[in-house]
């Protein structure tokens, strides 16, 4: 019951805002959206507390059930999504992108949140896919209509690329899911996970795993399927980027855990070396591009590619530690990316562009609060202990070094070494940004002071930075939530 409400509340508010309430003035739409997001967050907590679930037939012809529930694996992501939903709706007080009605914008944010929540709670493979698709259109609208005003062509290109690329992924995913469902005769994710693919022959397992991994890899994104991400991030409005990085990408990794890893472990195991190498190369690749990227927003996007590389590497290892690491790194990256995108969005709003080639006075001098938040974000980005990303990425390295028994250890150790090199690159690009933006390369004397973060923006930053620190100091908040559920995944060894 509560879980139905959890989905219905943002869906109803979002739909109303994009349809009937499209003309609602911002003064009413903002509180409404924020209230819905707050209500959703409360409901998310309630769902976790009460263990609410709903399970009824929806499409019996397809064996498809209307089945939503949260378990340990989805709990952190559920909270993350609800929290980010609050953040983005609150951020509307800071920035309301032009391009369409404000209410429509807020509605799209809520709809994306709905889709993500549904994805994280879906207990049925086909329903998972349907939920997976829900985010596409609102996100497309966010990028395509409310995105960067300067270049309409680039905007259309980025939006189209996002939606088509991810649709290609989800179509592949659909085929994989259908093959899995027809092979096993059930679409229930729990049953599928319990069966762990025992009903499938090795060839079928491999085919299913390949399709599932390919489809989800687009969303994660895994190198070389990542090229939709940078344009989408660069173009999307701040809140859109935050949702994209903090929530949408997580749907991909979550899917990897729920689908191939849990349901066809043997097939996944055969793909794992490729995935591990792709992840590790992604870490290095993203890091290298960040070293020379000029647009700060694009840079953060590529750093996302690098961070998700760690997550993929950990998942590929197939050990319990690896999955734990991946889930932790997943949430951590969500927080860090949200923090960085809010910051960069703020900077873009102030400066007009975030071209790193433009010499600017030190942020730590002109806007100390933004500067502090930036330093926290960058430090987290380079994996500083005490901040969120460290644990996940260290454990990812560990799990790659000691992968599950059936994995080719040589490949995984090589991937771990590569990823460790990538971590050093992360330091290089993070400090490059710190040097150019935070410390500044223009004397402050001729700049005057910029406007610092005040009001909502300040609190958004404080919240996100605080969450980054808290998760860094207390990673067990996530780990203990996921531990039992991960241990229950049949395919792990």
């Amino acid at each position: 019951m509560v879980v139905s409400l959890l989905l219905a509340l943002p869906a109803a508010a979002g739909l109303w805002l994009v349809t009937a309430g499209r003309a609602t003035p911002p003064r009413l739409a903002r509180p409404l959206a924020a209230a819905s997001a707050l209500g959703t967050a409360v409901l998310a907590v309630l769902v976790l507390v009460t263990g609410s679930q709903v399970d009824r037939a929806w499409l019996p012809e397809l064996g498809l059930r209307w089945s939503f529930a949260a378990d340990g694996i989805s709990a952190p992501l559920l909270l993350l999504t609800a929290g980010i939903g609050l953040v983005v709706t609150a951020h509307a007080w800071v920035e309301l992108p032009p391009g369409g009605s404000p209410a429509g914008y807020l509605g799209c944010l809520l709809l994306v949140e709905t889709g993500a929540l549904a994805t994280f709670t879906a207990r049925d493979a086909v329903l998972f896919l349907v939920a997976f698709e829900v985010v596409l259109v609102p996100m497309w609208v966010l990028v395509g209509r409310y995105g960067d005003r300067r270049d309409p062509r680039a905007r259309a290109d980025a939006a189209g690329r996002f939606v088509l690329y991810t649709a290609a992924g989800s179509s592949t995913l659909l085929v994989g899911i259908l093959l899995l469902v027809v092979s096993t005769g059930t679409a229930d994710l729990r049953e599928l996970a319990d069966g762990a693919g025992a009903a499938l022959g090795p060839g079928r397992q491999l085919a299913v795993a390949l399709l599932l991994v390919l489809g989800l890899a687009v969303k994660v994104p895994v190198l070389p399927l990542h090229t939709w991400l940078p344009p989408a991030h660069t173009t999307a409005p701040t809140a859109g980027s935050v949702l994209l990085a903090a929530v949408l990408l997580k749907m991909g990794t979550y899917g990897l855990v729920r689908l191939p890893l849990a349901t066809v472990p043997d097939g996944f195991g055969r793909l794992a070396p490729v995935l591990a190498v792709a992840g590790a190369v992604g870490v290095v690749w993203g890091g290298l591009v960040c070293l020379v990227e000029r647009d700060l927003k694009r840079l953060v996007a590529y750093s996302s590619v690098a961070h998700m590389g760690f997550v993929v590497l950990a998942l590929a290892s197939g050990s319990e530690t690896g999955v734990q690491a991946a889930l932790l790194a997943n949430v951590a990256h969500g927080l860090v990316a949200a923090l960085l995108f809010v910051l960069v969005g703020g900077l873009k709003q102030r400066w007009g562009s975030v071209d790193l080639a433009v010499r600017r006075p030190a942020l730590r001098e002109t806007s100390p609060r933004l500067g502090l938040a930036l330093v926290v974000g960058l430090a987290a980005s380079l994996g500083l202990p005490g901040l969120a990303t460290f644990w996940g990425e260290l454990l990812a390295l560990y799990s790659a070094w000691a992968p599950a028994g059936d994995r080719p250890r040589g490949v995984f150790v090589a991937a771990a070494v590569l990823a460790a090199v990538g971590a050093a690159l992360a330091a290089a690009y993070a400090l490059r940004v710190a040097g150019l933006v935070w410390a500044g390369d223009r004397p402050a004397a001729d700049a005057g002071t910029g406007t610092d973060a005040v009001g909502v923006e300040r609190w958004v930053l404080v919240t996100l930075a605080g969450a980054v620190v808290v998760l860094g100091v207390a990673p067990m908040l996530v780990l203990s939530s996921t531990a039992d559920a991960v241990a229950g995944l049949g395919g792990l060894r």
Binding site: V289, E293, T321, L372, V421, A427, D441
Partner: protein, 625 residues
């Protein structure tokens, strides 16, 4: 009392410090009080309850891996913790004067607190992952501290360089930690040491049997001898980076762009010395692995001697101290590298203890003198300390200690290091002989540049140099550290460090070597700069650190950036090419299709129908039969 308290107090202080960073007085009060409290706690712990190990304060459920996050409080660690706390307190108190007028003092104090917490974490940690946490946090703090005056491009560059060089070396450290933990299944130090102490020869056998390396790796997941050697070398590489040993030495002199108290902290008691603590913890493994010992021994031998010579020829006195740090850290590590298993690493830790005292003393004294003189160049600082008794006393004790004159703290520890190296040389399977020779030569060179430093700073000047305006904090700190440097050697009597008896022979030898060094420095008489006399041609090279910076750029930075450009190009033009290619192909197909349908002729339509039917019929008949 939990050793976590030692870490928590400065960590909390840094958190509070960030919150109140705008109010200098509050920030200073928080920092100094927390520093004092930490010192008190460390002292109490040292005196009252050494020898406990605690684990599992945090329960991290991460599958099969055991993460006890254990701490250990054996006497040697607590002694080191105490001296760290002492130096940190000194630096905090000193900073209230030195950076009193700085607009970012609050941040500085908070960062120093965090730095202290991180170092104390490394010291009390009995868990490799915890060690890594402290290790990395120190690196980050060093970036903030060195780049404190970020308005100056040199400071920004130095900070960047310091962090990047150490971080690159840390690739080795991280992999080493991960590898050891993975082999043992636990991150607890005792567990790791226990598991890796008796390694198998699996890899060796597999490789000998002709299996390729990846397969052999897959076959051997138990702790293995070869793997242990590789992992130890990786760890050693990380330590060399953080400790600014060859080939990573060049970041440290540049780091002198940071405020002097920060330099004192980084050099004396924390970051660069942390490697000694880490390797001391792993000494049972290290001592068993000649290859790793040799790597470490060669690197530190080269480092200590090279750095001592370069220190002698520096035209900037602060950079002279920096190079002396490189050299002295080399001395500490050499004890770990050379000491045979029976001796243990405590000679290195003892030198860490003494180096912390006298190096912080020297830095803080030099900082005061430099403020008075308005710069740190040798020419400008000449005689700048001559008029201030406290400075003269501090410098005298500090340089005596640095030179290793017996009975002051530096002398005591250096004798133990020499003794350990001698034991190693006698035992014969490690780099003992090399280290011993390097140590003797380094001692002489050290004495020479220490003499030079003292002579220059206290030289007589016609015009009476200004003493500078100081708050009482600065002289108090200097007096305290001077006293500690004189009496610090008594620590050997507490038995905190597991040391062997040192024979009188070493005392005599030390005096001799130091004497040679001092004599060397005095060849040109008391009034002339010995560097001018002995090594005038070397000075320009020494100032540039032998041009290693250019080497870093050419060998690492530029190729990486070039690779990055290639990757960025490939990313947008090749990897994305297939995406654009798809779009292009679709458009082309659409164009082609609409060309075909342009005529919209009915006869074509009918022709298509007939042709399609024939095709389909053919397909059907052929396909079905």
């Amino acid at each position: 009392m939990s050793p976590w308290l030692l870490v928590a107090v400065p960590a909390l202080a840094s958190l509070v410090g960030v919150v109140v960073r705008r109010e200098d007085r509050w920030a200073g009060a928080v920092a100094v009080l927390a520093g004092g409290l930490t010192l008190l706690l460390a002292g109490i712990a040292w005196v009252l309850e050494p020898g406990s190990t605690a684990g599992h304060v945090l329960d991290l459920p991460v599958g099969g891996l055991d993460l006890p996050l254990a701490t250990a409080t054996d006497p040697a660690r607590l002694a080191v913790a105490t001296v760290v706390a002492l130096v940190a307190l000194a630096v905090q108190a000193y900073s209230t004067w030195y950076l009193g007028a700085d607009d970012r003092y609050g941040q500085f104090a908070a960062t120093v607190s965090l730095f202290t917490a991180a170092m104390l974490l490394v010291v009390v940690s009995a868990d490799l992952v915890l060690t890594l946490v402290g290790w990395e946090v120190m690196g980050w703090c060093s970036y903030l501290l060195i780049g404190h005056w970020s308005r100056r491009p040199e400071a920004r560059r130095a900070a960047l360089k310091a962090f990047l060089v150490t971080r690159v070396a840390d690739i080795g450290f991280v992999l080493g930690v991960v590898g050891f933990v993975a082999g043992a299944g636990t991150s607890g130090l005792s567990g790791v040491v226990g598991a890796w102490r008796e390694p198998t020869g699996c890899l060796q056998e597999q490789l000998a049997a002709g299996a390729p390396l990846p397969e052999a790796l897959g076959a051997c997941d138990a702790p293995d001898g070869r793997a242990r050697t590789v992992l130890l070398v990786l760890l050693v590489v990380g330590v060399l980076g953080k400790s600014a040993q060859v080939p990573f030495q060049d970041w440290l002199p540049d780091a002198m762009e940071g405020p002097t108290p920060a330099s004192a902290l980084i050099h004396a008691a924390t970051m660069v010395a942390a490697g000694t603590v880490v390797l001391a913890g792993l000494h049972p493994l290290l001592a068993d692995s000649p290859t790793a010992r040799w790597v470490l021994g060669v690197a530190v031998s080269v480092s200590m001697l090279l750095a001592a010579v370069l220190a002698f020829a520096q035209s900037d006195l602060k950079r002279m101290l920096a190079w002396s740090t490189v050299s002295q850290v080399g001395v500490m590590l050499s004890a770990v590298a050379a000491a045979p298993p029976a001796d243990g690493p405590d000679a290195g830790l003892l030198h860490l203890w003494s180096h912390a005292l006298f190096k912080s003393l020297l830095f803080l004294a030099l900082g005061w003198a430099a403020v008075a003189a308005g710069g740190t160049a040798a020419v400008r600082m000449r005689g700048s300390a001559s008029a201030t008794p406290v400075l003269r006393a501090a410098l005298l004790v500090g340089f005596l200690s640095l030179a290793g004159v017996p009975l002051v703290v530096g002398g005591v520890s250096k004798e133990h290091v020499l003794a350990a190296a001698y034991d190693g040389a006698v035992a014969g399977d490690g780099p003992g002989v090399l280290v011993l020779v390097a140590l003797v030569l380094t001692s002489a060179a050290t004495a020479a540049y220490a003499t030079r430093g003292y002579l220059l700073l206290t030289a007589h000047r016609r015009d009476r140099p200004r003493a500078g305006t100081v708050t009482p904090a600065a002289p108090a700190v200097l007096w305290a550290l001077t006293g500690a440097s004189v009496l610090g050697g008594l620590v050997v009597l507490t038995g905190s460090f597991a040391l062997h008896q040192v024979s009188l022979l070493w005392l005599v030898l030390t005096v001799l070597v130091v004497g040679v060094g001092v004599a060397l420095a005095l060849v040109g008489g008391l009034d002339r700069d010995p560097a001018e006399v002995l090594a005038r041609r070397l000075v320009p090279y020494a100032d540039r650190g032998l041009g290693v910076d250019g080497l870093y750029r050419r060998v690492v930075a530029r190729p990486v950036l070039r690779l990055a450009r290639v990757v960025a190009y490939v990313d947008t033009e090749v990897v994305d090419g297939y995406v654009r290619g798809t779009a292009l192909a679709t458009r082309a197909a659409g164009w082609l299709g609409s060309r075909l349908h342009r005529g919209e002729r009915s006869s074509t339509a009918v022709g298509l129908v007939v042709g399609g039917a024939l095709l389909l019929g053919a397909v059907g008949v052929l396909g079905w039969s």
